[in-house]
């Protein structure tokens, strides 16, 4: 069954989109990430214009993180104060990101920026996660605790910068400056790549600020919910590139898949999942690296500038 997408201006198979978003939703529920980093490239691969893919996935990520936020709110695993700081930074980053996105599109280098960012981000983060997961697995094999104990009194220098604030639920006493910077970077990346940024925010909060993982996921979902809501609105107003029909299809598949993924996550070994997620992120990076480094079969490409519509 095909349905015509009014903004993307092409018909698409309903079952295929539901299956795709369901599978991505399953992965996102499983690993606690938004899944936008998988969905956006897949949609572009299906001939959906990149601008429409990025903007529409923002709406989808907003909807699917809503589900997560409600769940974590019920479990009281959400630090609203920390979330507030992340959101303020995220909004600044999103606005900058949308401006940058439109500038690059005008210059004709948007595709390059997106490809380069995917390659560097995913290789670095995937590589770090893989290293961490392997080390944890080896430690478990050797009969030691999986993670090094947090040492009291030892704090990285950035936590001691001015404007220190106490975040009770996260057990954190830290300067707001580095947290806001992290949030700005993630808002920026999110707006440019159409990803929620959960896969950067979660490890960032755990490794840089040593916040308990249980609170991190809920809080990061909250930040993603707010920034992606803002990004959807900005894309709708500045680009008119949000396809509401596609968004609904993606949401239906995504939220249902995420529920099943969330259930599967409870039954299975955490360490091997971290390893799988690392490999998944690395392979996405590799897929984009191939595009960048291998001589193209067709060096030419044709685009219709959005502004000329």
């Amino acid at each position: 069954m095909q349905i015509y997408l009014p903004i993307a201006e092409l018909p698409i198979s309903v079952l295929m989109v539901l299956g795709l978003s369901g599978a991505v939703g399953f992965i996102s529920g499983l690993f606690g990430v938004g899944g936008g980093f998988l969905l956006t490239p897949l949609l572009i691969f299906l001939d959906i214009p990149p601008a429409v893919a990025v903007a529409t996935v923002a709406a989808q990520v907003a909807g699917s993180s809503m589900t997560g936020v409600l769940t974590y709110l019920r479990r009281k695993a959400l630090d609203l104060k920390l979330g507030g700081v992340l959101v303020s930074g995220g909004i600044v980053g999103t606005v900058l990101g949308v401006l940058f996105f439109n500038t690059m599109k005008r210059l004709g280098q948007l595709e390059l920026v997106i490809t380069l960012s995917y390659v560097t981000l995913f290789s670095i983060i995937g590589g770090l996660m893989l290293y961490d997961a392997l080390r944890a697995m080896l430690r478990v094999r050797a009969g030691k605790p999986a993670r090094l104990k947090r040492r009291g009194g030892m704090h990285p220098w950035w936590m001691g910068l001015p404007f220190r604030v106490r975040f009770y639920r996260s057990g954190l006493y830290c300067s707001v400056l580095p947290i806001a910077l992290l949030a700005i970077v993630i808002g920026f990346i999110g707006a440019v790549l159409g990803v929620g940024g959960g896969f950067i925010l979660v490890p960032g909060l755990i490794y840089f600020f040593r916040i308990p993982p249980a609170v991190v996921v809920g809080t990061s979902l909250f930040q993603i919910l707010v920034t992606m809501t803002g990004a959807t609105l900005l894309h709708a107003v500045t680009n008119q590139s949000v396809d509401i029909v596609l968004a609904v299809l993606l949401l239906l598949g995504g939220v249902i898949g995420a529920q099943f993924g969330g259930r599967a996550a409870r039954n299975l070994n955490v360490e091997s999942f971290r390893l799988l997620l690392a490999l998944l992120i690395l392979s996405v990076g590799l897929r984009f690296a191939i595009e960048l480094f291998i001589p193209p079969g067709e060096p030419f490409s044709v685009v219709v500038p959005e502004s000329a519509r």
Binding site: P6, I7, S65, V255, A258, I294, P296, F300, A308
Partner: protein, 256 residues
């Protein structure tokens, strides 16, 4: 005496032109509007035509040839070429084709190369590469322009938006012909022009133009225009819908 010969010459030229214009083309479309609804997956139209000859026309030694050119809505197109920069490949040079049709369909009853010379095809802008050739001879001197135009045609053919059917026109009788035109679902909305040219022995005898349009209707049209005219409202509606579906999922799948 000189003015007399001038008039005589003009008269002779007029007669010759009359003889050339002895054939006229009559054309009709099977439909003048394609409506895009939510289950739209492309459409097909047929161009019908009749070559009409008046009684005085002498029988021609060469058969009639018909070329149908369908041009879609015009947009600015950018053609970019990837080049090597250090270890990576990036878009370096680009050429803009202002006012270029996004859809182009050329159909003939036999291969164009058999009908006319290359020069005629270029002069009369016949064929995919020639159809949008800018007028002015100097353009052909720029080898880059031709390379980019040929790449443009090749890529658009790959997308199914440009298409040449060398036997896409069928003569139903010696004077009546039809040409089906496939409009893929990815073809843009807007107005399309259909040019029909009659050739015989490599000489154009008559031409005719008609048109049709592709429009979004119903909910598709309302959503698309809403996204532009009510951008803020449209964005808010999308967000509300997204949050509602997210909330709904957490309620439905709640375990307790």
């Amino acid at each position: 005496m000189r003015w007399f010969t001038a008039i005589l010459a003009a008269f002779a030229v007029g007669l010759a032109a009359d003889a050339v214009r002895a054939e006229t083309l009559i054309a009709a479309m099977s439909s003048h509007q394609i409506q895009i609804t939510s289950n739209y997956t492309g459409s097909q139209l047929t161009v019908f035509g009749l070559v009409e000859r008046d009684g005085r026309t002498v029988a021609r030694g060469d058969p009639y040839d018909i070329i149908v050119t369908v041009r879609g809505p015009r947009r600015m197109l950018l053609v970019r070429e990837k080049e090597r920069l250090g270890p990576i490949w990036i878009n370096r040079t680009q050429r803009r084709f202002a006012d270029n049709p996004v859809f182009l369909h050329v159909a003939s009853n036999r291969p164009i190369a058999e009908m006319m010379s290359n020069e005629t095809a270029r002069r009369d802008r016949i064929g995919l590469v020639n159809a949008e050739r800018p007028t002015g001879g100097w353009v052909d001197l720029d080898p880059g322009a031709r390379r980019f135009r040929e790449s443009l045609v090749r890529i658009m053919q790959g997308k199914g938006l440009y298409d040449y059917e060398e036997r896409g026109v069928t003569f139903l009788s010696s004077a009546l012909f039809s040409a089906p035109v496939d409009i893929p679902a990815t073809a843009p909305t807007g107005s399309y022009t259909v040019d029909i040219v009659l050739y015989s022995g490599g000489v154009p005898l008559a031409r005719q133009q008609t048109n049709f349009e592709v429009i979004k209707t119903g909910i598709e049209q309302r959503l698309a225009s809403g996204a532009y005219d009510w951008a803020v409202l449209y964005g808010l509606a999308t967000i509300l819908l997204a949050l509602f579906l997210g909330w709904g999922a957490s309620v439905i799948f709640r375990r307790d």
